[in-house]
């Protein structure tokens, strides 16, 4: 399959500030790509440039075989679901969804059937006559989604679509989004700072850092083999340690091929307590239900460990042994 969307050496900026630096990226038709990164990493800027809401400093954007770098946003055939939903406050739910169709002068009978189908697909047929302000956050989100998909865009961009919802609704909307994407087969770019959302939804994740791509890969690759301390940290390896001459702070790191490696990282649940080569003092303990999370002060620095709540507890201030096992570690080649 040929590439559906290509960004070539795309550079974006606000005034003299460069926000995105010479980005290269390609996606396939029907793919769901997550742009993942902390705020300020350039992911939203990249999305706005793809949408046409900002003009690149340099570089090229190609969609479906056509150079769209200079095509205005309203002629790109790209949909965008805003973080704030951005519903039109003066129009009913029905008219919000019908907006794009009416602009395209679709005959009234077709508008009705298509809007009704779109509302049905997000489960909101019964609220067609409401005003947006009479809806809950989750319902507004669904209207925003219906409004974007009813015009059948080639590509749908979603800007942190779930960040304004509470945890439960977030899960519900997440599976809803996955279902819609399967049903419509539409290519989507999903911008988020939430690694769990990216892992659950995306076919491919692009981790961004300071305007560049830090790592791109499948959720499994990103989750299991982060290439840098930055990605490791972002994806839940909270214990990242730099290597000096293949050693962890003077301690040998036996068994690792530390040739070009710059660091090693462990998830909290990979750290074993009670035995091992390292020693540390318990500085904090939080009971989280299933697990207890310990914070250890050690010569390596702070170490976070997560153990099953059923395991023997350690008192704060106690000095205990711990192990950073080889099989739970990832080798990092950059910081």
């Amino acid at each position: 399959m040929s590439d559906f969307l290509t960004l070539e050496r795309l550079t974006l900026g606000y005034g003299a500030t460069i926000a995105v630096d010479s980005l290269d990226f390609a996606m396939k038709p029907g793919e769901l790509v997550a742009l993942l990164g902390p705020s300020g990493c350039g992911k939203t800027t990249t999305m706005r440039a793809i949408a046409g809401l900002m003009t690149p400093v340099s570089g090229r954007i190609e969609l479906d075989g056509r150079d769209i770098t200079r095509v205005p946003a309203n002629r790109r055939g790209i949909g965008l679901v805003f973080q704030s939903y951005a519903l039109f406050p003066h129009l009913t739910v029905f008219e919000n969804v019908a907006f794009g169709l009416r602009l395209a002068r679709v005959p009234a009978a077709q508008v009705r059937t298509r809007v009704e189908a779109a509302l049905a697909s997000v489960g909101l047929s019964h609220l067609a006559d409401r005003q947006p302000k009479a809806l809950s956050g989750g319902q507004q989100q669904r209207v925003a989604l219906a409004r974007s998909i009813v015009v059948e865009p080639k590509l749908l961009l979603l800007d942190e679509p779930l960040s304004n919802l509470d945890a439960r609704l977030r899960l519900e909307m997440r599976s809803e989004l996955a279902r819609l994407q399967r049903e419509l087969g539409i290519a989507m770019i999903y911008v988020t700072h939430d690694q769990a959302e990216a892992l659950a939804l995306a076919d491919r994740i692009i981790v961004m850092r300071e305007g560049r791509i830090e790592q791109a890969g499948t959720p499994e690759e990103i989750y299991e083999r982060p290439v840098s301390g930055f990605v490791a940290n972002f994806i839940g390896f909270e214990n990242c340690f730099a290597l000096r001459d293949g050693k962890l702070k003077g301690l040998a790191a036996p068994g690792f091929d530390t040739g070009t490696a710059t660091g090693l990282a462990w998830r909290p649940n990979a750290v074993r307590l009670g035995r091992g080569a390292h020693r540390g003092t318990v500085a904090g303990a939080s009971y989280l239900g299933q697990v207890v999370e310990y914070l250890l002060a050690t010569p390596l620095g702070d170490v976070k460990a997560e153990v099953p709540a059923a395991a023997p507890r350690h008192a704060i201030g106690a000095e205990i042994a711990f192990d950073l096992p080889q099989d739970g570690a990832v080798v990092l080649h950059r910081d």
Partner: protein, 257 residues
Amino acid sequence: MRGLGHLLLAAVLVFLIGPFVIICVAGLSGGETLAFPPEGLSLRWVAKVFTVESFRAAFWLSIALAFGSTAVALALGIPAAYALERYDPPGAEVVRAIVTAPIVVPGIIVGLALLRHLVIPLGIPVPLALMIGHTALLVPYAVRVVSGSLVNLRPDIEEAAVMLGASRLQAFAKVVLPNIRAGIMAAFIIGFITSFNQVPVSLFLTGPGITTLPIDMMFYMEFNYDPSVAALSGLLALMSLGVVMVAEKLLGLSRYV
């Protein structure tokens, strides 16, 4: 404390509504001179208002002026407010300050300045001079009130419209305008009433035979101290009240002003 509060409330109401009541009652006087309490009641001065030729001409000029200058002020003020709110252009603060100046500077100075440095040197005819003066006076209100309703409108709904296929102009017409309609109506009513009641600026710009209603009433009173001016004032007050009540009914004006 409670008693004092009620007293204060009563005083405020008396001072707010009192003059209006006095003018209306004085206008219904049966006597020959403007007086309160009136000497008997009659509608003769109300009837007289409609027979004074200069009142009739001045009324229509004032109405045309109020509609015209408010419309022009809005045509200039809406894009200005939009640009100031959305683009925050360089020098936005200076523009805001300049646009507010006619509210801060006494009208009499504005009128004199316009006369000396614009109307006389360029030989601008009276109706056009009035139109320019009133428009300059109303632009600040238009910019301020419209800005107020733009602040409450999220800028991303315009982008949402664009992403659905609208041009920037269509987004403005179909999404921004309907949402600031109430602000525009409020600015229109404020502008209309300000222009209609305007004295100081108009004073310098009116000429022989062409004058606005408030100025004409002032001159009339200098020579005729009869209750017809009070009757006219009462009628005008009722007209303003009617406009505000209709606006309140249609738009819920009190939510915006």
